[in-house]
């Protein structure tokens, strides 16, 4: 039978999915062993046991200086910045996306600007951002917003423009004003895509958050990674990276589940 017609069973799918992760863990363990044997003080590839110990310590023991439990304060700080950034970006992208996708005049005015802005690498204008937005919470949230909003806006605008013209015409024959159509036809059909767009933006949002926290913060997951990077404390960095990945994965899952529940009429992307 052709290989494309061979479907693994549910059980072997599970096993196959675990294999690459296991392989990576084994390779890491070996590399770590080799380095640690050559130099027991090596910091680059700490053993799993020491990473685990460090992680447990960060997650349970209060910090000597502040009395806070570092992992949770960092997580809370980062998640609240991320949530705020994603929320603001979603709101702006939704409004602009609908305006650009639905109203020809706004499209003519704003589409070129949004297009140009989505091409500016935000990291290159960091100094300007920090000066405009200051260095406190606002600037971190702003970097996330500036980093992800243009792309989300373009995405939403093109989805709005893709709403079948027939529906818009139909709504007009049913007596709808532009505003009524926006509220009752365009907005509800754009929301599922907004969630999908947010899911795509999660990766970049974390990236910008970490970049912002590395420059100016006193807590947050990115701050901690940055702080200990100077000492090459990979026993902190690696568990933190795994933790971030887990958080990102959970947010992704939550958004997907939310969309499936909130928009039962929308065929979700399915699969990958």
């Amino acid at each position: 039978m052709r290989i494309i017609n061979q479907f693994p069973t549910r059980r072997s799918r599970l096993i196959l999915g675990v294999v690459p992760f296991a392989a990576i863990a084994v390779i890491y363990a070996l590399a770590s062993r080799i380095r640690l044997e050559a130099n027991p003080a090596d910091r680059l590839l700490p053993a799993f046991s020491s990473m685990f110990d460090t992680f447990v310590r960060l997650a349970t023991e209060p910090d000597r200086r502040s009395g806070d439990i570092v992992l949770w304060t960092d997580t809370l700080a980062s998640l609240s910045r991320l949530g705020l950034g994603l929320g603001i970006a979603a709101a702006i992208a939704l409004v602009l996306g609908i305006m650009i996708g639905f109203v020809p005049k706004f499209r003519a005015t704003l589409a070129p600007l949004v297009g140009a802005m989505s091409l500016i690498p935000p990291l290159a204008i960091l100094p300007i951002l920090f000066i405009v937005f200051g260095l406190d919470e606002l600037s971190k949230v702003a970097l996330i917003v500036i980093g992800i909003t243009p792309v989300m806006t373009r995405d939403l605008a093109s989805r709005v423009a893709d709403i079948p013209e027939e529906q818009i015409v139909k709504a007009q024959t049913l007596g709808a004003s532009s505003w009524a159509m926006t509220l009752r036809v365009v907005l509800p059909q754009t929301l599922p895509r907004l969630v999908a767009s947010l899911r795509l933006a999660l990766g970049p949002a974390w990236l910008f958050l970490i970049a912002a926290e590395a420059i100016a913060a006193t807590d947050g997951l990115g701050y901690r990674i940055f702080l200990v990077r100077r000492y090459l404390a990979m026993d902190v960095i690696l568990p933190y990276v795994a933790w971030i990945t887990l958080l990102a994965w959970l947010s992704d899952l939550a958004l997907r589940e939310f969309a499936a529940r909130a928009f039962p009429w929308s065929k979700s992307g399915g699969g990958l």
């Binding site: 529906q167 015409v169 139909k170 007009q172 049913l174 007596g175 505003w179 009752r184 059909q189």
Partner: protein
């Protein structure tokens, strides 16, 4: 309930003539079935009646007045697809026109008025046999059920003119027959003016009081560049005549549709 006068309209898109010299005068309450080869401009003609497209020249008058420059509630439309709103339930789709009419800034009725609108919608749903499906989404309905809903939705505005673009193209013969009855019944009841595009000649003769055949002809008989389509046959049917003419009509137009727009 309205007369429609189409005065010598023509349309070119990007220099290519699509329609030309289309003249038509329809009295109130007629049921015009439109047939013609694929790509000859039938949908385009409906789009112009709906002000979705503006003719390059000529004029369209409704009840003697120039048609509004954009779609308005006096002309209802049922498309072959996308005819209902996928994000609203069946009942929601029928309440929507009332929501739009409410003039509320949220484009939504509340309280007692909402309950009234919903009750009216439910009554309508019972009438078209969708009562049990009121809280389903369109994607959960069969094609025929969706089209019934689309027609009910279009009729809820009591349009003077109803435009139908291949409304039954995707349906089973059985469901199609049901829909024919539904449509005939509603038309007799409301006496609106109907324009229906169809690919099914039988359907055209069965439902229409008048069958319009669109086709491309070259007035000079020569090959002087591409020509747009126009109305080549305009058959006014007596109710009694219809059955008899059906066969003859079918033979008449059988050859025409074989010429597709691609051969132009």
């Amino acid at each position: 309930m309205s007369t429609v006068d189409v005065q010598n309209i023509a349309l070119s898109i990007g220099g290519v003539p699509i329609l030309e010299r289309v003249n038509l005068s329809v009295t109130s309450g007629e049921f015009c079935a439109i047939v013609g080869a694929s790509g000859c401009g039938k949908s385009t003609f409906l789009r112009m009646l709906l002000s979705q497209q503006r003719p390059s020249s000529g004029a369209i008058l409704i009840d003697g007045e120039t048609v509004a420059p954009e779609p308005t509630p006096d002309r209802g439309i049922v498309f072959q697809k996308y005819s209902v709103f996928p994000h609203l339930t069946v009942a929601g789709n029928l309440v929507l026109p009332a929501d739009f009419a409410s003039g509320s800034p949220l484009a939504r009725l509340f309280g007692a008025r909402r309950r009234n609108a919903r009750a009216a919608a439910m009554a309508m749903l019972e009438k078209i046999g969708l009562g049990p499906h009121a809280d389903k989404y369109p994607a959960q309905l069969s094609g025929g059920q969706q089209q019934r809903l689309a027609i009910a939705q279009a009729l809820s505005m009591k349009p003077k003119i109803l435009l139908l673009d291949e409304p039954f193209g995707a349906l089973d013969p059985g469901i199609r027959a049901d829909m024919h009855e539904l449509l005939s019944g509603l038309w007799k009841e409301t006496r609106m003016t109907v324009f229906m595009v169809t690919h099914d000649i039988g359907e055209a003769f069965k439902l229409g009081t008048r069958v319009l055949v669109f086709d491309k002809i070259r007035p000079d008989g020569g090959k002087a560049g591409p020509a747009g389509a126009t109305i080549t046959y305009d058959l006014k049917l007596d109710r009694e005549q219809r059955r008899a003419r059906a066969l003859a009509g079918a033979a008449l137009v059988a050859a025409a549709p074989a010429r597709t727009a691609n051969d132009a």
